[in-house]
């Protein structure tokens, strides 16, 4: 490129930038009715974790349903923005304040990461669309264990405090048994693991007395009888787990679970939020969505808009209480 060319381009570009700025200014001052036609632009979908994880799979399932039933009229671009246990991806969404063409799916870290680190955002900062499902936990013992039911487990735990394993500490794996133990009146030693594989092996080797797990990841070992499920923390026990009670059915309603939902950036127009709520109401009726819930052994748990925000608030409050008591966070 010659210097002459460069200059011309530079000015052209300058002009373009200027006119773009003007357009933005005009649009911004225009009444809200100009945006009635939401959605009319490409959607940027932030996945705050790497490919292959639970959050990624849910996002991609939702996108394929939106595309198959032509629910979103424009293109959807999914972008993995992993890092810092979700801090990066949701930080990115937070920075898109007021822009209704960004969206992201949530998971457990949506609640726990702001408790652990200095994030500029809180789960309640975003515009909530819907809670879709929750990841609930099953309490497991070794298949050779003498303990057959949740009742027996709790009775035994009152005599001799068991060791219960789970993934991480600032996590529902610790919070659920902690709440259960407080309600049922027993003590236990929590043993924290990094990875599901190490946790399952520790339980199989009888090093642990019990563990908390997502049912989907241990289903094979449950079917073969190597592990035994005693109770389920969600609202309704999935059929694949057989005839075990939920904690609520056993008399301990904890009301805690990991939210899998959808949020928009903070302060987006009400129209966009309403459009998404109406759309998600259609999505959850599709057979593809039902199949996803079944395969992943998730609990369908739908709350829309402000109800979802209230749920996030309540869950984070309960987490923070327990974690402060145990000294994990300040």
């Amino acid at each position: 490129m010659t210097s002459n060319n460069f200059k011309r381009n530079f000015f052209l570009r300058g002009g373009a930038v200027l006119s773009a700025l003007l357009t933005v200014a005009v649009l911004a001052s225009a009444p809200a009715s100009a945006e009635d036609k939401y959605p009319s632009k490409r959607l940027d979908w932030t996945i705050a974790f790497g490919p292959g994880g639970g959050n990624d799979i849910m996002s991609r399932t939702l996108i394929s349903i939106l595309e198959k039933y032509k629910l979103y009229p424009e293109n959807i671009v999914a972008e993995n923005r992993p890092g810092g246990s979700g801090a990066k991806g949701w930080g990115y969404l937070f920075a898109q304040k007021g822009n209704p063409y960004h969206i992201s799916s949530t998971s457990g870290s949506f609640i726990t990461t702001p408790l652990q680190a200095n994030t500029p955002w809180q789960p309640t900062s975003f515009t909530p669309i819907a809670l879709l499902a929750s990841d609930d936990l099953v309490i497991l013992v070794n298949g050779k264990s003498k303990i057959k039911t949740l009742r027996e487990f709790i009775d035994q735990a009152k005599i001799k405090p068991p060791s219960i394993g789970g993934i991480g500490t600032v996590n529902v794996d610790f919070i659920v048994p902690k709440m259960l133990s407080e309600r049922a009146g027993f003590k236990f030693d929590y043993v924290s693991f990094n990875k599901q594989g190490e946790l399952t092996t520790a339980l199989l080797s009888s090093a642990l007395d019990a563990s908390m797990s997502n049912p989907g990841e241990v289903l094979g070992l449950l079917q073969s009888g190597d592990l035994r499920a005693l109770g389920y923390s969600g609202k309704k026990t999935p059929a694949a787990l057989g005839n075990i009670p939920t904690f609520a059915e056993a008399g301990y309603d904890l009301g805690i679970s990991m939210p899998r939902g959808l949020v928009l950036p903070p302060d987006v127009p009400k129209e966009a939020q309403d459009w998404w709520i109406a759309t998600i109401k259609k999505v959850v009726q599709t057979p593809e969505w039902k199949a996803y819930i079944d395969k992943q052994l998730l609990t369908e748990n739908v709350l829309y808009g402000e109800d979802f925000r209230a749920f996030l608030q309540k869950t984070q409050g309960a987490f923070a209480d327990i974690l402060k008591k145990s000294g994990a966070i300040k």
Partner: protein, 500 residues
């Protein structure tokens, strides 16, 4: 005869044209993923995962698994030629692989690593075929106490690795242990040395440190010595490449190293959480400690290359055992595979092999074919790669910096980790200049957190009593083996002294 009929069933599945095509795509991608520093098999599998959802599960898993074991071949190429490990499992291959290249033996080193990889991979698949149920029992008996003892065995290898100046070696290891303490304390959930940064919650990743210490550190050292001014030369410092093919004695001298590496690697691979990196590092120190001439290690000993190479490949086969026979992922890569199983509607677990034999055995059979394909691919590709050492340093140097930077960034898309890599490069340069041990640092960084975590898990379970190590049969076994190894080492040393 059951095994044979199963294997024939598997072969008939694997050999269908479409599955063969998937297999070749998989091994090629695996090689490629392995060659790019930092970009490991877990990331490669995860990125390809979404496109496999519409595929037949058997073909898809054949392809994704091929990426996994294929990457163990590719990772070594840059370890040998650039002193830059392609992924964490090939760090040990830099110790003697790069010196071999510097002596003008890059060709033989690459061929030998391909052969060792093939040998390790194939021994691994044979062991899966014949003994998978037995090894699944090993997996079942590994709780935190056993894991801690295994990690301690790994840490003992520090003594071997430090060698020469033990004070400098000890300081290097302590830096590694210190770096390993960054991140959320698993036991209490408290953040340690994270300065409230969300990026530091997960701790300091081992990849940017290893790439910086070895790859960039070596490069800075070369610049320091003025290699870039010399015009000609390249990696091989003024030395001509001698001959491309290994000599017969390379095979004869290292056949037991390969076998030891393969068996050790497989056994470690079946233990969830241990994996190919620990397997290769342990194999290196085993080779060094039983060698009659340990002083050759680190200066281009072929045993020091082929042992770890056989080990990391066998370990990647070994990691398939808990995945297939118990539905337990032993590593990041197999965890992504497990997620894939669930998406395809398969239930990984002890019943999988019985309920879906064509799937499980198709995969196993494809691993035999995949290893053969990888050996061929390597032998073809090596002459191409060897050209790299003829590139003048002033061109190669910036290219290496670029590769290291992109590789590190591509792992987590983290700028902080990229800076960390550059910082590790400077540290690596000074360590090399003053004779410290980057290898000890890396080993301590990998094993330190594992040791801390498993010991604290053990003591939580036993409520503070060390007696738990003597109560469990498997941990008694490991203690016994450790004692035997130590005793053998002492006897060997005494014997050697008497000879002198």
């Amino acid at each position: 005869m059951d095994i044979f009929s199963n294997l024939i069933l598997g072969l008939s599945v694997a050999i269908s044209p479409i599955n063969l095509a998937y297999l070749f795509i998989g091994v090629m991608l695996g090689m490629f993923v392995g060659i790019i520093p930092g970009f490991g098999p877990a990331a490669g599998i995860a990125i390809l995962l979404p496109i496999t959802f519409g595929m037949d599960p058997t073909g898809a898993v054949i392809m994704l698994s091929a990426i996994y074991y294929g990457s163990m071949y590719g990772g070594t190429i840059t370890s040998i030629l650039l002193n830059t490990p392609g992924d964490s499992a090939t760090v040990a291959s830099t110790f003697d692989g790069y010196p071999l290249a510097q002596q003008g033996r890059a060709g033989p080193a690459l061929v030998m690593q391909a052969v060792a990889s093939f040998f390790g991979g194939t021994v691994g698949v044979i062991l899966i075929t014949v003994l998978a149920p037995l090894f699944a029992q090993v997996t079942r008996s590994f709780g935190p106490p056993e894991f801690f003892l295994l990690v301690m065995m790994g840490l003992m290898t520090l003594i071997v690795m430090i060698g020469g100046n033990w004070r400098y070696g000890a300081i290097s290891a302590l830096i590694g242990f210190a770096l390993g303490t960054v991140g959320v304390d698993l036991e209490t959930g408290q953040s340690r040395f994270t300065f409230q940064s969300a990026e530091m919650i997960g701790g300091i990743d081992f990849i940017p440190i290893a790439i910086g210490l070895f790859g960039l550190g070596e490069l800075y050292y070369a610049f320091y010595n003025g290699l870039h001014l010399s015009g000609s030369g390249g990696i091989v410092q003024y030395q001509k490449e001698k001959r491309f093919w290994p000599e017969l004695r390379d095979f004869v001298e290292t056949k037991f190293s390969m076998l030891r590496g393969a068996v050790l690697g497989f056994c470690i691979g079946v233990i969830p959480g241990a994996g190919a990196t620990i397997a290769s590092l342990m194999s290196y120190s085993v080779e060094k400690s039983i060698s009659k001439t340990p002083e050759r290690f680190g200066k281009g000993a072929m045993e020091g290359l082929v042992g770890p190479e056989a080990a990391n490949n066998a370990a990647s086969s070994g990691a398939m055992v808990p995945l297939l026979s118990l539905g337990i992922p032993g590593s990041a890569s197999t965890a992504v595979l497990l997620a894939a199983f669930l998406m395809w509607g398969l239930t990984p677990g002890p019943l999988l092999m019985a309920q879906k034999p064509e799937f499980a055995w198709g995969l196993i059979a494809s691993m035999y074919l995949g290893n053969v394909a990888l050996l061929g691919l390597n032998i073809f590709a090596i002459p191409l790669f060897v050209q790299m050492i003829k590139v003048p340093y002033r061109i190669l140097g910036p290219a290496v910096i670029l590769i290291c930077t992109i590789g590190t960034y591509s792992v987590n898309g983290s700028i902080i980790e990229t800076w960390l890599m550059f910082a590790a490069g400077l540290v690596g340069f000074f360590m090399k200049l003053y004779g410290y041990s980057p290898a000890a640092l890396v080993l301590a960084l990998v094993l330190g957190p594992l040791a801390e975590q498993s010991l604290r898990q053990t003591l939580t379970i036993s409520r503070g009593s060390f007696g738990i190590f003597l109560e469990r049969p498997t941990s008694l076994w490991i203690l016994g083996v450790t004692a035997a190894v130590l005793a053998a080492g002492l006897l060997l040393r005494r014997g050697r002294r008497e000879e002198d």
